[in-house]
Structure formats: structure tokens, C-alpha cells
């Protein structure tokens, strides 16, 4: 479905990606794991069209999406929930959701998606008229994911969805991701919470300093990679 081939990217003089190659098949839940600065968010930025790689190729369903604008990529069905949520604080919950469905023109699909989103996030239904900026962190995260789901994405990319959330909310977010996966949504998950991620993913890539260090199923990664070593010093995030 999505394939990155030898992608290099940089911010000015700083090289962020040094030849990243990954693939995701339809219906898969794949994680990109790694410490801060490993290049995980940069990889998502390249896929979403926010950052243009200076070398390498990105194809989605067989066609190159390199050089396409963020809006063109969104229209192809790729939806990113960025780190920090980036909900629109001055728009109310309903308007945030309505804008999430910008690429969908059919009213019946909008209503169906809205119904599904309300099922998944009942709290949002209670806060429809509340400005996004006044929601709590957990509610904002739910809104950000809900907004992405409103576009019926073919590929959902989640960047650190558990960041900054209370432990109980982290559980909820991971349960939700697993549930979306069961429903058949293709998901690329970026996380620092390795243990929780490996519990739910089909496969995972381990990134370090702009490179893919290893790749495989959760069992393979646990068996063959020194994950703890890579994450040493990251309190609360390492494998216990």
C-alpha cells in the first residue's frame, strides 16, 4: 500500500533521514519506534507532504506521491494525526470534525462517519459546541483521531498519540488503536512507548539517528534486538 524507498531528508543543514525504506500492506498496523530525534516524525512528515525528501521515493498504492502537496496527499486518503494533536483551538468540536471530512463530499458518508466517531468517543458528542482549545489533553487527542477518521482514511498515521497523557488515558488510546486495526484500518503508528506498541502491532521498525536499525514482528524484535539498550536512560519508556 505504502512504500518508502531509500528516503533522505534534512532540515537545512541537519540531516534527519539517511535512507529510510519501509512498507505497509493494506490492513496492517505497523509501528515506527525509536528515541527522540530518531527521525520518526520526519518520516511521517515526508509521507504527508509537509517535508520534501531530497532523495528517495515514496509510493502509495503503486503511484509516486513525491512532490505532491499536503492537500493532494490528504485527498488520496492518507491522514496524519500529528504529535501535539494540532486540533483547531478556536473551532468547536463539531467544526473540527466537519473539517476532518473536508475531502468527503457525500452527506450519507459524513453522517455514517460521525455516528462511528460518536460511538468511539462518546465524550465528544457531549462537547460538540465547546471550542477545541478548552478540551483536556485526552479529549484533544480523541478529537484529533476522530477528526482524522472523519475522512475515512485509507492510511491513518498516528504520531505519538499517547504523549503527555495520564496512564489510564494511554491504555484507552492503545485499546482504541487496536480496535481501529481490527476494523481494518491501515495504521502507521509512531511511538516511544515500545512495550505497549509491540503488544498491538503486526510489525515494527526500530529507528535510530535517521536509519532503520531493525525490522520484524514484535516477537522477532523482542528476541533479536536490544530494545532496552536503545532506550536506555528513557525513564518510564523502557522495557521493564
Amino acid at each position: 500500500m505504502l512504500e518508502l524507498n531509500d528516503v533522505h531528508a534534512r532540515y537545512g543543514a541537519i540531516i534527519a533521514l539517511r535512507g529510510v525504506s519501509i512498507y505497509i500492506s493494506k490492513g496492517e498496523l505497523v509501528a515506527l519506534l525509536g528515541v527522540n530525534g530518531a527521525g520518526k516524525s520526519t518520516t511521517l512528515g515526508c509521507i504527508a507532504g509537509v517535508l520534501r525528501p531530497w532523495q528517495g521515493g515514496i509510493t502509495f498504492e503503486g503511484a509516486s506521491i513525491l512532490g505532491k502537496s499536503p492537500e493532494q496527499i490528504a485527498r488520496l486518503g492518507i491522514s496524519l494525526v500529528p504529535e501535539g494533536r494540532d486540533i483547531f483551538p478556536s473551532l468547536n468540536v463539531e467544526e473540527n470534525l466537519r473539517l476532518g471530512a473536508f475531502t468527503r463530499s457525500e452527506k450519507s458518508e459524513y453522517r455514517r462517519n460521525l455516528g462511528e466517531v460518536y460511538d468511539l468517543f462518546p465524550v465528544l458528542k457531549e462537547r460538540l459546541q465547546q471550542p477545541g482549545g478548552t478540551l483536556s489533553g485526552g479529549e484533544q487527542q480523541q478529537l484529533a483521531i476522530a477528526r482524522a477518521l472523519m475522512s475515512s482514511p485509507r492510511l491513518l498515521m498516528l504520531d505519538e498519540p499517547s504523549l503527555g497523557l495520564a496512564p489510564a488515558l494511554v491504555d484507552q488510546i492503545f485499546e482504541l488503536i487496536a480496535r481501529l486495526h481490527q476494523r481494518g484500518v491501515t495504521i502507521l503508528l509512531v511511538e516511544q512507548n515500545v512495550d505497549r506498541s509491540l503488544e498491538i502491532v503486526d510489525r515494527a521498525y526500530l529507528m535510530n539517528t535517521g536509519l532503520i536499525e531493525s525490522h520484524g514482528s514484535a516477537q522477532q524484535l523482542r528476541a533479536h534486538t536490544d530494545i532496552e539498550g536503545i532506550y536506555m536512560g528513557m525513564q518510564g519508556q523502557t522495557k521493564k
Binding site: 509537509v50 502537496s69 478556536s90 473539517l99 476532518g100 471550542p131
Partner: protein, 297 residues
């Protein structure tokens, strides 16, 4: 003296300034660009009225609609040919472009029409007054207030009820995220420039209505008013622009009443001193945008 006449005149001035400020802030909100060619849109509206009344048999209302359309189309055209090509480069490039567009439009008017003021024929209603509670109030001022109410209502409905309007507000919060939801950048920016042009066009009708003439440099004063009003109200908020416009009008009108006759001619200096004091206490302007607020939770 503060009486009914003073209140209506101040409200009318505030309405005019609020509409001016809105036109500037709607583009700033999305591109972070202070469009220095904004005043020239008022000039384009003015010259359109001059040309239309002189060379066409259109009734005045038709002339006014034509002025708004001309300002809107000029705004859209400048976005397309001048701002769009440099948009991805840098904010400085856009800022310099806006100065260039401003100079080009001014010189265009100088060359094509005349450096001298041109008289604009105004309808009778602009010269007549009405008695309200024993006070003579110019119809022009009432028209400005009514136009402002109508414009703000239509703009509010557009921004709250239509998907494009919601996208415009979202783009002011976070433009990249708005694009990542599939909203085309060009559509949002063009719409913002169109609204900006419409605002300048509407203002031009009444701005020129005060002096009944138009010159190539007429845009400088409205640009300054719009800029100061948005700085007072808050550059990032549409509500702030409206508040800023009214605060500006109230302060300048009050200064006209309070200051001794010898100092009234310096009221602009007093005005800017007050603006500086406001900014010392509220550097973000009176209305803070929600997107600049931080919330922990």
C-alpha cells in the same frame, strides 16, 4: 461634548475602521502578512467610482457595487500574480512584494489617471441629514453603521456556517494542519484576499464619501488606520479587529472633545501614545487569539 450626535458619529467611525481592520486581519491571520497594498484597494474602489460615474450611465448603487467588485478583483489579481509566486519563499519576500504592489498600483493611478484629485459624484443621501431626538445626524453615518452590521452578519454566517468559512478560521489557527485535512491552500488564500478586497471596496465608498474626491495616495490613511486598529485589537483575531476599530474610533473621537483647541491638531500623536500604553499592558492586543493560548490538561 458627548451627546447623541457624538455617539452616532463615533459608532459610524468605528464601523468604518472595524471593516477596514477586518480586511487586513483576514489575510494576516492566514499568511502572517501585513498587506501594505491594502490601502491601494481603497484607492481602486475610489477610482472605479470616479470612472463609473463619469463614463457610464449606471445608477449610484450600481457604481458602488462596481467599486466593491473592482477592489475584490484587484485583491485577487495581486494575490495571483504577486503574492502566490513568492509565498513559499519567505515572509520578508511577501512583505517586500506588498510594498511593490502598493507602489505599482499608486503609480498606475498616477500614470493612467492623474496625480491630481478627481472629484467623485456622490448621491444626494451623502449630503443630507436626518433629525433623531432633536439632533441632526448625517445619513452617511447611519448608512455606515447599517452597512457594518450587514457586513459583519454576512461575514459571521460565512465563517461559521460554510465549510470554506470554517476552513478559513482553521487556517488562521494552523495552516499546515488545515492543508493536511485536504483543504487546498490556494482556495483558502484566494478567499481571504477576496474578502479583504470586498472590505476595502465597501470602505472606499464611505471613505471617498467624506472627501468626495480620490487621489493616487488616498490609500495611505486607511492602511494606517487598519494597521493600528488591528494592533490594538490583536492581529490574530477577527473579533480583535472589530474591537480595535471601535476602540480606535472612540479614543480619537474622545481626544477631539477632551483636548484643548490648541492641541486638537496633535490628536494623532496623543492617539499613538495611548496605543503604545495599551501595548505595554497588552502586547498581544486587547483580544488574544485562542491559538496563542496554552492549555495544560
Amino acid at each position: 461634548m458627548i451627546n447623541l450626535e457624538f455617539i452616532i458619529n463615533t459608532l459610524s467611525l468605528g464601523s468604518l475602521y472595524a471593516m477596514l481592520a477586518l480586511g487586513l486581519v483576514i489575510v494576516y491571520g492566514i499568511l502572517r502578512l501585513v498587506n501594505f497594498a491594502y490601502g491601494e484597494l481603497v484607492m481602486v474602489g475610489g477610482y472605479t467610482m470616479y470612472l463609473a460615474t463619469f463614463y457610464t450611465p449606471l445608477p449610484w448603487l450600481g457604481v458602488a457595487v462596481l467599486a466593491v467588485l473592482a477592489a475584490m478583483l484587484t485583491s485577487l489579481f495581486t494575490e495571483l500574480v504577486a503574492f502566490r509566486p513568492v509565498r513559499e519563499k519567505s515572509l520578508t519576500a511577501m512583505l517586500i512584494t506588498s510594498f511593490a504592489v502598493s507602489t505599482l498600483l499608486q503609480n498606475g493611478a498616477l500614470l493612467i489617471i492623474s496625480p491630481r484629485a478627481r472629484a467623485v459624484t456622490l448621491p444626494q443621501i451623502f449630503q443630507t441629514s436626518v433629525m433623531i431626538a432633536g439632533t441632526s445626524v448625517p445619513w452617511r453615518n447611519i448608512l455606515i453603521i447599517l452597512t457594518c452590521i450587514l457586513t459583519l452578519t454576512v461575514l459571521t454566517l460565512l465563517l461559521r456556517r460554510t465549510v470554506l468559512g470554517i476552513a478559513l478560521r482553521a487556517a488562521a489557527d494552523n495552516f499546515t494542519m488545515t492543508r493536511m485535512l485536504g483543504v487546498p491552500a490556494n482556495t483558502v488564500i484566494s478567499t481571504a484576499f477576496a474578502i479583504s478586497g470586498i472590505m476595502a471596496g465597501i470602505v472606499s465608498i464611505f471613505w471617498i464619501g467624506r472627501s468626495a474626491s480620490v487621489t493616487p495616495t488616498i490609500g495611505a490613511a486607511p492602511l494606517l488606520v487598519a494597521f493600528v486598529a488591528t494592533v490594538i485589537g490583536g492581529m490574530r483575531s477577527l473579533t480583535g479587529a472589530v474591537v480595535g476599530g471601535f476602540v480606535y474610533a472612540i479614543i480619537i473621537s474622545l481626544l477631539g472633545v477632551i483636548l484643548p483647541p490648541g492641541l486638537v491638531e496633535f490628536r494623532e500623536a496623543f492617539m499613538f501614545a495611548i496605543v503604545i500604553i495599551i501595548l505595554v499592558f497588552r502586547p498581544e492586543g486587547l483580544i488574544r487569539s485562542k491559538s496563542s493560548e496554552e492549555r495544560v490538561g
